[in-house]
Structures are given as structure tokens and as C-alpha cells.
């Protein structure tokens, strides 16, 4: 523990994504720049009587297409399955071999770690509801556990149950890559994958590992997930127009749109990346984390937590707010988030607040919950690469108090060198990452 900070610089050398707009990074990026929407009617189950009848679903995805040995992953649920595709894409770009018994890519497996912000899997809905139907004694108003157990124990599949654990996606990545370095999964609601990437960076900085496979995966598009968010009234109910339902920073915003997907980046020490001669996509320079410690249900009105996390990330990166060219906002499209986030940006960016472009790709992608931050970070890398920032779509009716430059409705060509990516989660979790052109 008595450890000199290794002072390693950390770079991104691979990226992969499976998300409602596309199952590869380049088409995902082009879709964002073309203002496409990944949002439509819910098809995974019949949600036609729910308050919200639409979402943002992954389409045309087949994990086995990425695998030589799919048998190992046959029990995967949606989250684990998505992360396989995203990981294989990212590893391929970074030159890290997968499904290799004796890899020759120059990465010592004991120094290759995994840090995901992955969500839990869905319950096995058929059995879950059938057992409750059978077990509930409506007359006595109590459970008949004998009846419940009979259905549950005969119809639940043990491996399917195990796969619901949030640490499973990381386990699948370990099987896929042979990684034996530190491996963790954090689940801090909508801020999880940003936190995972930030903490992964610190492990490389400490000198514990040479590379980390990091990011997130999640699907809450299932009967109980949609129920939970609908009851919280967190979701848009614009059922007659799903494509325009995600309206971050607009006056008529009425909630976020539930999405799903996985996004993975390979973080690597600069020395390892140079030694291996792989292409460097961007440098990660700052990470800040904080908690609101305010209320279970609401964000702090003055954005205390987000401000602290943003400032901590700037300090970590050793830069000033004046150096930031673009902010990838959390921008969910809930009334509360977008107001509080605007307050936070104004507090941190002071006189520059209205000048720095701050957009939300959730307007097109939906909200990937635990995986959201990682998907957004990937677009930040591409914004630097191409000197263009993606827009906030559906921003046709601005709200007077929300008066920042949200890059409304069309992408903008401009020099982009340093970017801040923000994620805020239920319960007051705030995580912020800063990346720059390498």
C-alpha cells in the first residue's frame, strides 16, 4: 500500500459498442451525426398497456457471431451478451487477442484487469410471475410458500438465475480474454460505467496493471424494470411520438427514454501502448467522483455534488474549466436533471458557461442506465478525432432558464481537443471524466 504514484499517462486504445443506434462504433457515430433516433415501440415484451410503450432497444444483435466458442457464454442474459460484442470489438481495435489460450499480443494477463459498471440481469419473468400467481393467497392476503416454492424450484433454471448477478458480465469478459488482473463491478445507477472507467484509470496510474477492459452494460427493458421507472414517473410518456420523446433541455421534456446496450473501452498505460505499437485514440486525464448526500429521491437544488465531481475531475486533469472545448452532458430529459445539470455547468464554467457546447446524445440514443456513461465517452473520443460535436436533438422549444449552448438539432464542426463527460445517478452519484487529444 505504501506506494509511489506510478504517474503513468493513460490512453484509450480500443472501443466497442452494442447499442440502439448500431452494433459498431463507426455506424453509431454516423447515426448520431445524422440525428437518427434509436427509439421506437417496445418489442421485447408487450408493454402496450404501460404508461410508457416505447424504449430504445438493441437490434439485430447476435453474440455468437463474435465467438469461436460460444458454448461458454450460452447462459448469457442480455447484458452479458451485449458486453461480449462490445468487448470483442474493443479488443480487436486495441490488438488484444480474445479466446486465445496463449496470447501473443504483448499484454501480460496478470496485468490486464476488468472494471465494469454493469447492471443486474432481468428475473426469469415467466417463472417469476407464475410462481407469484400460484403462491399468493388472495383470500388470506398472504403467501403460500409451499405453492410458490413448487413452481420456483421446478421451473427456475439455476444458471439463468446465476446470470442475473451484476458481476457476470465481467466474468464473461475474463473467460473471453483470460484477464487475471484486478476485476471489479460497480453499480452506482446511471453513473456506473463512468465511475468504472474512472476507477480503472486509477488502477493503471497506481501501476497495478498495464491495461483495463472497462465500460458498462445493462438492460432494464423488462416488465419489472419498466414498472420501476414508470412508477418513479422518470420516463417520458410521449407514446404518440417515440422518436421525439427524448427531449433533453427542452421546455416540453417529460422524462428519459429507457435504453439498453453495452460500451467498452480499453484503457492502457501510455508506455504499454507505445511498446505494443497500437494506435492511440485519446488520453484520459481526469476523474472526479462525489455524492450529493442530500435526499434519496431528489438531486441537491444547487447541484452541490455534480459541482464537486466536475471540479475534482478538472483538478485531477490539472486544467481549468477554460480549457474544456465540449461537455457531454448527462442530459436525461427529466425536468430535474436538466435543470440541476445546467446550474452545475454555470457554477463550474462561470463566464464561459454559455460558450462551451454541452449536448446530450440521449436525445437520440435513449438512456442506457449503467452503460450510458461509457457509450457517451466513446462519442467524446470521436468528437476529438473528427473535430465535430454531436447535437441535442428535439430541442425545438427551449426553456428560458436553460440557456446554455446545447448544440440544438444539428452537429457542429469545431476544434475539439479536451472534453468533459458527465454522469449522475439516482441517489446522488456523480462521476465525471476528462479526456484529451493525444
Amino acid at each position: 500500500m505504501i506506494r509511489q504514484r506510478a504517474n503513468e499517462r493513460i490512453v484509450i486504445t480500443g472501443m466497442g459498442v452494442v447499442c440502439p443506434l448500431s452494433n459498431d462504433v463507426e455506424t453509431f457515430w454516423q447515426a448520431l451525426l445524422s440525428c437518427e433516433s434509436g427509439i421506437g415501440k417496445t418489442t421485447i415484451f408487450d408493454a402496450s398497456t404501460y404508461p410508457t410503450t416505447f424504449d430504445a432497444e438493441v437490434k439485430n444483435y447476435d453474440a455468437t457471431a463474435y465467438l469461436k466458442n460460444p458454448g461458454l457464454h450460452k447462459h448469457s442474459n442480455r447484458g452479458s451478451s451485449f458486453v461480449i460484442g462490445a468487448t470483442v470489438q474493443a479488443c480487436k481495435q486495441a490488438g488484444i487477442e480474445v479466446e486465445a489460450s496463449e496470447p501473443t499480443d504483448g499484454i501480460d494477463r496478470n496485468r490486464l484487469g476488468i472494471y465494469l459498471g454493469a447492471g443486474e440481469g432481468s428475473v426469469d419473468n415467466d417463472v417469476f410471475f407464475a410462481a407469484l400467481v400460484e403462491g399468493w393467497d388472495a383470500q388470506e392476503n398472504k403467501m403460500d410458500w409451499g405453492k410458490w416454492t413448487k413452481i420456483a424450484s421446478s421451473r427456475m433454471d439455476p444458471m439463468h438465475e446465476l446470470e442475473q448477478e451484476a458481476n457476470m458480465p465481467a466474468a464473461h469478459i475474463a473467460m473471453l480474454t483470460g484477464a487475471r488482473g484486478p476485476t471489479r463491478n460497480c453499480l452506482t445507477a446511471c453513473a456506473a460505467s463512468t465511475q468504472a472507467i474512472g476507477e480503472a484509470m486509477t488502477l493503471i496510474r497506481r501501476g497495478d496493471v498495464d491495461a483495463m477492459i472497462t465500460g458498462g452494460t445493462h438492460s432494464m427493458i423488462h416488465p419489472l424494470g419498466l414498472t420501476g421507472f414508470n412508477r418513479l414517473t422518470a420516463l417520458s410518456t410521449r407514446n404518440d411520438s417515440p422518436e421525439t420523446a427524448s427531449r433533453p433541455f427542452s421546455a416540453s421534456r417529460d422524462g428519459f427514454v429507457l435504453g439498453e446496450g453495452a460500451a467498452i473501452v480499453i484503457l492502457e498505460s501510455l508506455s504499454s501502448a507505445k511498446r505494443r505499437g497500437v494506435k492511440i485514440l485519446a488520453e484520459v486525464t481526469g476523474y472526479g467522483s462525489s455524492a450529493d448526500a442530500f435526499r434519496v429521491t431528489d438531486m441537491h437544488e444547487e447541484a452541490r455534488g455534480p459541482i464537486q465531481a466536475m471540479n475534482a475531475a478538472l483538478t485531477d486533469a490539472g486544467i481549468s474549466y477554460k480549457d474544456i472545448d465540449y461537455i457531454s452532458t448527462h442530459g436525461t430529459g427529466t425536468v430535474e436533471n436538466d435543470s440541476v445539470e445546467t446550474i452545475a455547468i454555470k457554477a463550474v464554467f462561470k463566464e464561459k458557461a454559455k460558450k462551451v457546447p454541452a449536448s446530450s446524445i440521449k436525445s437520440m440514443l435513449g438512456h442506457l442506465i449503467a452503460a450510458a456513461g461509457a457509450a457517451e465517452l466513446i462519442t467524446c473520443v470521436l468528437a476529438i478525432r473528427d473535430n465535430i460535436v454531436p447535437p441535442t436533438t428535439n430541442l425545438t422549444d427551449p426553456e428560458p432558464a436553460l440557456d446554455l449552448d446545447y448544440v440544438p438539432n444539428k452537429p457542429r464542426k469545431m476544434p475539439v481537443n479536451i472534453v468533459m463527460s458527465e454522469s449522475f445517478g439516482f441517489g446522488g452519484q456523480n462521476n465525471v471524466i476528462i479526456i484529451k487529444r493525444f
Binding site: M168, A171, M175, L187, A189, T202, R206, S289, A291, G427
Partner: protein, 442 residues
């Protein structure tokens, strides 16, 4: 250059042996078993009818008046975390907003929280009436559910079951505004959380951290999973005291339970400055992966555990000769115990046959995300008291297990202790603790 050292200055534990660290240590010394027949629901029909259940408490008595309303949003996992956090902070001498708002002596923005949490299952009794209102021809009808069923679910229902709500409630009660994380890696969660919290202090992002884990596994869904995976013992249903038998020749599986363990970690300089009682130092952490195609079990050679132990020993800059105590994960699942024993032997060599090994799950049960924290708390108590109590139910050591399982209590000056853990699906961790007596002499 950063040379921060991280010490433990407070402990909090709630588990089947009692509501406090004192109760836990007294129970462990007395060889008491916290495992009983399940009373939280009727376990008839379950292959394992046993669990480690926490004695009765009233959560309202454990939160400040301002947080009483919020107890309605607490799953049992959250309640356990709140109670353990209170004890850990109170024992550390730190004064938070939740302890006395007039005399706060922490900087909330320089205080972190990092808790391990489980896959929290919803309360089936709570959700059942909504399901019952969604039946057509005797079957669940999703269209009725979407229209009528979900209206019967309490609006803030989801917030009870998000794993980060443990740290969130504790953070609100005590006003902890620094880095906050929730690790969800099943039974290895608490070790990963404590390790990460130590890293956060070392890198200078916080001076103080609350770290540990909590999980309430006594829920029908959670328990039936362990039964179906054949991890829970199906024998000894009439003899709960003898059901969980880590490293014993007659071990048949684990027994699951509920609990929380939370420690206060502190930068050594900070602890000294405020004249805190230093209980132990976090001297080394190591983490890796178990890679096994049959991922519900540990790989047979325990390779992932071995790597974690080796890394932790290197981190602490010690050798096997320096260890006086090992608290293993020791679940009572024979193949996993054997793999863990092999890993310990492979990491520590010949010496592994001599170092006292003290598994505690036979008494506190397997509390999932809390278990690693309870192990660390037990190790710190043993260091403080200079005593290793006896392992329970290891009457005849399993074949091929060459570890020195402590079957008689012994007085021993413990310089360094090793705790290790792993979980189904892969992740492994090890933590080396250094005695505070060593601290003053080094």
C-alpha cells in the same frame, strides 16, 4: 509521490451472532452458531431450510429523526448497512452530522464511502397483490399488469432495490460527500470495496472512508437460487449448529445469511492528528480472477485466489513467515474449500501448513456481499485481543486439505493477518492486515 498509509479506526458489525462487534466477537469466542431454521418465510419445500438471521431490531431507533420517513424506502440490505455504519463511526470517535450535527469533526467532502452490495431481490409479499390483480384465466397477464397491476406498486418501489442505495442512505444520514461507490461482485464485494476505499485514501482523494458490505440473503428468491445451484447444504436441516462445516470431511454445502460489516478507514496522519485509536493497518491488497468454464464453482487449482494472495503479500512487502492468521472465504462447499486450500498452499508454500486458519462462516453464515467485511472485523478483533478462537465444525479435516485449521482457541500475538475471498463467476481478492502494535514499533 504519495506515501499515505491506511489504518482502520472503527468497526461495525451486525450479523446472526448479534447487533454489534462486541456480540460478534463474544459469539465467535464462545463457538456460538447463528444459524437456525428460517423464520423470515416458510422454507418448507426448500432443500436447505436454514439461514443465518440477524436478531430483531427496530430500524427507526437507528436513524436520526430527520431520516425516519426515509426508512420506508429501505430494503433490509439498506437497514443492515445503516446499523453497521453507525457503530463503525461511533467507535472511531468521528462525529458526523448523523451522530451530532453540532459537533461534526469530519470534512464531508474529504470523506468517502465504498460498500459492497448484493443482487437485492424485491419483497415478494409486497409485489404479490399487484400480480394477483393481473391474472386472466389463471395466468399472469402482462396487459393487465401494465394497466392495473403496476398502479398497485408503491411509487418509489425501485429505489428500495438499487444496490447503491445502501451507500446513499448511509451517506445522507452522516453527510458523506466524497467519492461514493458500490461494488456488486457477490461474495467478494466487501473485500473489493475495502481495497478500493484504501486506494482512494492512498491517492489522496479522501482522508477517511467508510467501507465494507451488507447483504440480506434471507429472501425466498435468493435462497432458492443457492439451493438450485446446490451451493446450500441440504443436510443437517434438523441440526443447524452443525450444518456449515468449512474444510471438514463431512461438509455438504454452505448456509446463507444476512449481515453487514463496515470499517472506518483513515489516512494514518489523519488518525494520528486526532489521536484516534488505531486498530490495524491495511497493509496489502491483491485482486484477480478465477477463470472456470463451470463458473458457479472455483477453478479446481484456485489459481485466481493464489494470484490475489501473492499480490497482496507483495503489496504488504511480507512473506509467509510474517503471517499469524488466515481467515479464508471457507464456505463449506467441499470443492470450493479444497480449491481455496490449494490456492493458499500454492501462494504461501510449506508455511501454509503451519499458519493458523480460522474460517468463521460456520458461525456467522455466508452473508454474501458482507462476508469479507465480517472476516476483516474478526481478524482485527483477534489482533486486538491476541487470541484466535476455534473454528467450529471442522471436526475431521477434509482429505487433501493441508491447512492448519484452528480447532482449539489459542493466545497468539498476531503481527499480520490475511483474509481472502472469491465468488462464483470469478472475481477474487486478498487483504493483508498489519497489527497496530507492529505499527508503533516500525
Amino acid at each position: 509521490m504519495n506515501s499515505a498509509r491506511v489504518v482502520i479506526t472503527g468497526l461495525g458489525a451486525i450479523n446472526p451472532l448479534g447487533l454489534t462487534v462486541h456480540d460478534m466477537w463474544a459469539g465467535l469466542c464462545a463457538g456460538k452458531c447463528g444459524i437456525t431454521k428460517i423464520t423470515a418465510f416458510d422454507p418448507e419445500g426448500f432443500s436447505c431450510k436454514l439461514a443465518g438471521q440477524v436478531p430483531d431490531y427496530k430500524i427507526r431507533n437507528h436513524v436520526p429523526r430527520t431520516h425516519r420517513k426515509a426508512t420506508k424506502l429501505m430494503s433490509r440490505d439498506i437497514e443492515l448497512a445503516v446499523i453497521a455504519a453507525n457503530e463503525a463511526l461511533a467507535s472511531s470517535g468521528l462525529i458526523t452530522k448523523g451522530i451530532d450535527p453540532e459537533q461534526v469533526n469530519i470534512d464531508p467532502t474529504r470523506t468517502a464511502i465504498n460498500l459492497g452490495a448484493g443482487l437485492i431481490s424485491c419483497d415478494l409479499v409486497e409485489i404479490a397483490p399487484a400480480v394477483a390483480a393481473s391474472i386472466t384465466d389463471g395466468k399472469f397477464d402482462i396487459l393487465k399488469w401494465g394497466k392495473d397491476g403496476i398502479e398497485l406498486i408503491t411509487p418509489l418501489w425501485l429505489l428500495k432495490y438499487l444496490p447503491n442505495m445502501l451507500a446513499c442512505h448511509v451517506g445522507i444520514i452522516h453527510d458523506i460527500q466524497g467519492p461514493s461507490n458500490t461494488i456488486t461482485c457477490a461474495e467478494v464485494s466487501a473485500h473489493l470495496a475495502i481495497g478500493e476505499a484504501a486506494e482512494i485514501i492512498v491517492r489522496g482523494d479522501s482522508d477517511i472512508a467508510l467501507a465494507g458490505g451488507a447483504e440480506a440473503k434471507v429472501n425466498p428468491i435468493v435462497m432458492i437460487r443457492q439451493c438450485l445451484l446446490k451451493r446450500a447444504t441440504s443436510e443437517s436441516n434438523d441440526d443447524p449448529d452443525r450444518a456449515c462445516r468449512p474444510f471438514d470431511a463431512n461438509a455438504k454445502g454452505s448456509v446463507f445469511g444476512e449481515g453487514a460489516g463496515i470499517v472506518v478507514l483513515e489516512n494514518l496522519d489523519n488518525a494520528k492528528k486526532r489521536d484516534a485509536k488505531i486498530l490495524a493497518e491495511v497493509a496489502g491488497i491483491g485482486q484477480s480472477n478465477n477463470i472456470n468454464p463451470a463458473y458457479e464453482r472455483l477453478e479446481p487449482d484456485g489459481n485466481g485466489v493464489r494470484i490475489a494472495i501473492e499480490k497482496a503479500m507483495t503489496d504488504a512487502q511480507i512473506g509467509a513467515d510474517d503471517l499469524d492468521l488466515i481467515i479464508p472465504h471457507g464456505t463449506g462447499i467441499p470443492v470450493d474449500d479444497l480449491a481455496e486450500a490449494k490456492a493458499i498452499e500454492a501462494a504461501l508454500g510449506q508455511k501454509a501448513q503451519e499458519i493458523p486458519v480460522w474460517p468463521i462462516k460456520s458461525m456467522v453464515s455466508n452473508t454474501g456481499a458482507a462476508s469479507g467485511a465480517l472476516d476483516i472485523i474478526a481478524a482485527v478483533c483477534a489482533m486486538k485481543e491476541g487470541k484466535i478462537p476455534a473454528a467450529k465444525n471442522c471436526d475431521k479435516k477434509a482429505n487433501d486439505c493441508n491447512l492448519n485449521i484452528v480447532t482449539q482457541p489459542q493466545q497468539r500475538d498476531i503481527r499480520y493477518a490475511l483474509c481472502c475471498s472469491y465468488t462464483y463467476c470469478g472475481q477474487t481478492a486478498a487483504i493483508v492486515l498489519k497489527s497496530s502494535k507492529e505499527e508503533t514499533t516500525s
